[in-house]
Amino acid sequence: MPDDVRRLKRARRDGPNAFLGPLETAVMDRLWKRKQATVRDVVDDLAKSRPLAYTTVMTIMTRLHAKGLLVRDRDGKTYVYRPAFTRDEHRARLSQDLVRGLVDEFGDVALAQFTAELDSVDASHRAALRRIAGSDK
């Protein structure tokens, strides 16, 4: 848990990409552009701007896979990686985590909030709220 708290704190400071290190961001950028790629593809892509060892890129991509950001399929001896989320989905997920983190991170905050518990609201409640939000009841 402390790790997550630290990560959240860093993220709040640094903005939406902060959960990723600079190399991870570079790799994700390539994947979002190419839709799918092998480790070799990414190494070659990055070679122009940032020459990296094959093993370094492999480690980063394995880590991104472990974090759930990349999915991979085996193609013969190599893995083909794809982003698990589009760039926008990734951003949305991140901001949602941060909103929840805001209350969690500070623990026992003594506040009375309109957006009180930014907690889960299931689909029926959501639909019911939408209905009265659009009516003149």
Binding site: V99, E105, F106, L111, F114, V121, D122, S124, A133
Partner: protein, 325 residues
């Protein structure tokens, strides 16, 4: 009287009553405790006395720790947010002035939509630019009316007091359940105040809808037991069909609380009236009741006070957990 006020009143009454009883018990047992510490006889009554004194010290510590943590957490959040304070725009200023909230509003630059009422003696309202951007004037007015209720009721102060009581009176677990009930009721009451002033639910509902986080995949339906509703879901039910959240205390915590208070009364008055050594059976019953309540309440309160409330992390938002969709 509104339900939120009643809930808070009940909580304070119970807390003060229990405190009085427990202080009486302490006063009765203190001489025995001293006797043991200073090397006197260690009969069974003295052992119970020392045990109860330890429980009491723990309660006082928990209460103070809860107070300290809440103040620190609140200060820390406010300091972080207010470092991004921007000038209140004319639009927000106008809406606020019409609600007699001029000079009580802070706007902070943040893309996340949130608003809250903070501070204790003279509460203020904090709005994020992300919230203001999403709402039209009528919705903004509805949100400010909701916050104005918290501000006038001094809800942040009430919340601190309520949590302090719950932590300090960990041997009376019903107090914590009343705090949870009050937490829901104060939001429902603030919504109702806004709806009354707006003359309808539409603006508040649409403001709430706009700030909901993205849909969760679970769908339990509207007819789920109220106990499992989130605060926001309970508020929605109240807005949609006026369904109130009943006060549902768990039987276990009522039994433990009642048992603990009865045990405290027995120990305090028996010992006070008959300073002679108490018999073993007369002591063991009440003492074990008190211990059971203490163990149950302490487990919960220590988790609340010492550990960060991390439930929503674990269940939903580990930043890069396995993909669930």
């Amino acid at each position: 009287m509104r339900t939120a006020d009643r809930a808070f009143g009940l909580l304070v009454l119970l807390a003060l009553g229990s405190s009085a009883l427990l202080i009486t018990l302490l006063a009765a047992l203190l001489p025995r405790g001293f006797a043991v510490v200073t090397g006197g006889t260690a009969d069974i009554a003295s052992v119970v006395a020392v045990l109860v004194l330890i429980l009491a010290t723990f309660g006082v510590t928990l209460g103070l720790a809860s107070l300290f943590r809440q103040l620190l957490a609140t200060l820390s959040l406010i300091r972080t947010l207010l470092s991004r304070r921007v000038t209140v725009s004319r639009r927000v200023g106008d809406v606020a002035a019409r609600l007699e909230l001029a000079g009580r509003i802070d706007v902070v630059r943040d893309p996340r939509p949130f608003s809250f009422c903070y501070w204790f003696r003279r509460p203020r309202i904090c709005l994020s630019t992300g919230l203001i951007r999403r709402l039209d004037d009528a919705e903004l007015r509805a949100v400010l009316l909701h916050e104005r209720y918290h501000l006038r009721q001094r809800d942040p102060l009430r919340l601190v007091i309520a949590r302090y009581f719950a932590a300090g009176l960990y041997v009376v677990p019903v107090v914590e359940e009343l705090v949870e009930y009050y937490t829901v009721q104060k939001e429902v009451a603030a919504d109702q105040a806004a709806v009354r002033a707006m003359g309808g639910v539409r603006e508040l509902a649409s403001a709430l809808f706009k700030v909901l986080p993205d849909a969760d995949d679970v769908d339990l339906g509207l007819l789920v037991p109220v106990g499992s509703l989130s605060v926001t879901e309970a508020r929605i039910e109240q807005l949609v069909d006026g369904r109130a959240v009943p006060l549902a205390l768990s039987r276990a915590s009522v039994a433990l609380s009642g048992g603990a208070l009865a045990a405290a009364a027995v120990l305090a008055f028996a010992d006070g009236l008959h300073p002679a050594p108490l018999t073993l059976p007369a002591l063991l019953g009440p003492a074990s009741l008190l211990l059971a309540a203490a163990a149950s309440g302490a487990a919960h309160q220590v988790r609340l006070v010492v550990l960060r409330p991390s439930h929503s992390y674990e269940s939903t938002s580990l930043p890069f957990g396995p993909r669930t969709r």
